[in-house]
Amino acid sequence: MKLTFPAFAGRIAFSALAALLGAIFALPLIWFIFAPFNARAELGITVPDPWTLSNFMTVFQNNFAMQALWNSLIQSIGGVILVGAAATLAAYALSRSSIPGKGAVTYILLLFSSVVSGSAAMVPIFLIVSAMGLIDSHLAVILTFAGGLLPTAMFILRDFIDSIPKSYEESAMVAGASPVQAFFDVALPVIRPGIVVVVVWAFVNIWGSFLIPFILLRSDKLMPASVAIYSFYSEAGTPTVTLLAAYSLIYSLPVIILYLFVSWKFGFRFFGGIKA
């Protein structure tokens, strides 16, 4: 199809505008492309001369920071497993069983999950975790995140499961499978893409969070990377720019990789939950 001139010019203008917006979004992040590889990085953007990995070497030698990455991993993976498993079971029950009042349960869950935000519930969560004697443990962070993320995870997954024909499990049962067999052999593998989305979403949430671990953890040994990053502030708060940049990059990598994975595997789109 041949484009008329105005249409062609319009295309160019659109492309230019989109590229400009993309550039604006990129600007605050460009610093992270250069600074980590620059032994003398400051807050301004300078192209490293020479490019070096010395900042990373220093960061790798910082036991506390490395331990913190490990802690982040423990907390994120623990939380993700709990969220994934509990949300899958619960969402499956909400979708497939005929428990009386499950509609109301879903409604109430959604209501609570949107009403009770982290900032509003800080005090009671601290007091509850403290009363349970779990303060200053990975478990405290894992459980708190699981509780907080579950309603939304359940809701997304329930929508996903609702969109899957019941005939999968029905055919399995007619063929002789017990409900448990039907769930594990048939339903679970079919729901898996939905679970992956929820799990990735939960991981990114836990991995990046600052406030909850900051309040619930007390000892340095358990702090996740989001808190440990402040160890690259010297004395009383001046950032050690070079190390901070390198550490930030390492700390961001899992999220970037997950993004690439999800957009490659599923396309970064919406699943259930938010469909209108």
């Binding site: 295309r11 659109f14 492309s15 505008l17 989109a18 590229a19 917006l21 979004f25 600007l27 605050p28 992040l29 460009i30 610093w31 600074a35 400051e42 301004g44 709990l82 498993a85 949300a87 079971l89 619960a90 499956y92 029950a93 005929s98 428990i99 009386p100 499950k102 349960v105 869950l109 209501l111 609570f112 009403v115 009770v116 935000s117 982290g118 900032s119 509003a120 519930a121 800080m122 005090v123 009671p124 969560i125 007091l127 509850i128 459980l143 509780g147 907080g148 499990e169 409900p179 990046g208 600052f210 406030l211 989001s226 990053i229 930030s248 700390y251 961001s252 993004y259 919406f270 209108a276």
Partner: protein, 311 residues
């Protein structure tokens, strides 16, 4: 149907379901416990604590007293309601912040981006999308620091760019802190609106636009007359969700610490300061209750609209 003499039913018929009620209950238990413990109990506890003068330090830590609505009266004390660092100031600041950064900033920018990337070459779409989404998914502490460096008065990238074109430096974090967090939050959150609108646009059959092309409509006309009316539902969804998220966001704290002079102290940050710096748990809980009331209003609107659409 009550008396059916010809069909004596030996035992009460259990309705078949893919998952029996008992199994369903078992499936729901772990999630139910976790949600009850970390969402529902805190909800009621925060209401309870808000009626006490509980603190972490000082006399009322050990023996908190029931003070009725005193915490609420203190929050709404007209003598200092609008002062910086007080509840009223934070409330108004947060309202302005939501209006400017979510309803105007994120929604409009997201809409514009979603519309633009429908038509641009794939590589520009990919690149733009990647940066917009990166702003959204990178850890908040990293983003906070990126902006701190970006806006630095002496070395920051923004000032370097301004001076290179002959404009004066700005001391943004100190002089325009409110606009800094507005722009910051717009930047941080536009991805969600973009993706939501993007998926909304791509759910419109292309034939609608082709028909308009045949009729000779311009891009703007197509947007205004076809796309916008068709995604109205998505717009409502988007506005309510980003309003709620922005209302509760804590991330600007990592950029400004709520300052200078409380000028960026959003309700969530105010809540944090009262509860975890001044250690006034009772008053902090009262702030939390008000935050939750606002959330409740939005959630009810959202669910009402959502329900209507589902039927």
């Amino acid at each position: 149907m009550t008396a059916e003499p010809t069909t004596p039913v030996p035992k009460p018929a259990r309705r078949f379901a893919l998952l029996s009620n008992r199994a369903g209950a078992v499936f729901l238990t772990p999630a139910g416990l976790l949600v009850a413990l970390f969402v529902i109990i805190p909800f009621f506890w925060v209401i309870f604590v808000s009626f006490t003068n509980r603190t972490l330090l000082g006399r009322t830590a050990l023996n908190p007293e029931f003070v009725g609505l005193a915490n609420y009266f203190a929050l709404f004390d007209p003598s200092n309601f609008f002062q910086r660092g007080q509840f009223g100031f934070s409330l108004i600041l947060t309202t302005q912040f939501v209006l400017a950064s979510a309803l105007i900033g994120q929604a409009l920018l997201g809409l514009l981006l979603a519309w633009l990337i429908q038509t641009v070459p794939p590589w520009i779409k990919r690149l733009t999308e990647t940066f917009v989404i990166a702003a959204w998914i990178l850890p908040e502490v990293v983003i906070g620091f990126a902006w701190f460096a970006f806006l630095d008065r002496d070395q920051g990238t923004l000032n370097a760019m301004l001076t290179s074109v002959g404009l004066p430096r700005g001391d943004f974090l100190l002089q325009q802190p409110f606009w800094v967090i507005v722009v910051f939050n717009t930047w941080r959150g536009a991805a969600f609106s973009m993706m939501l609108f993007n998926s909304a646009f791509s759910s419109i059959p292309p034939s609608y636009f082709q028909a308009a092309d045949v009729a000779g409509a311009s891009s703007w006309q197509k947007f205004k007359d076809i796309a916008l009316p068709l995604i109205r539902g998505h717009v409502v969804t988007d506005l309510i969700l980003i309003t709620m998220w922005t209302f509760n966001t804590f991330t600007p704290f990592l950029l400004t610490n709520g300052g200078p002079s409380y000028r960026t102290e959003l309700l969530s940050i105010y809540n944090y300061r009262v509860a975890f710096r001044d250690f006034e748990f009772g008053k902090g809980a009262a702030v939390g209750v008000i935050i939750m009331l606002v959330n409740l209003a939005f959630a009810l609107i959202y669910l009402t609209i959502g329900r209507k659409k589902r039927v």
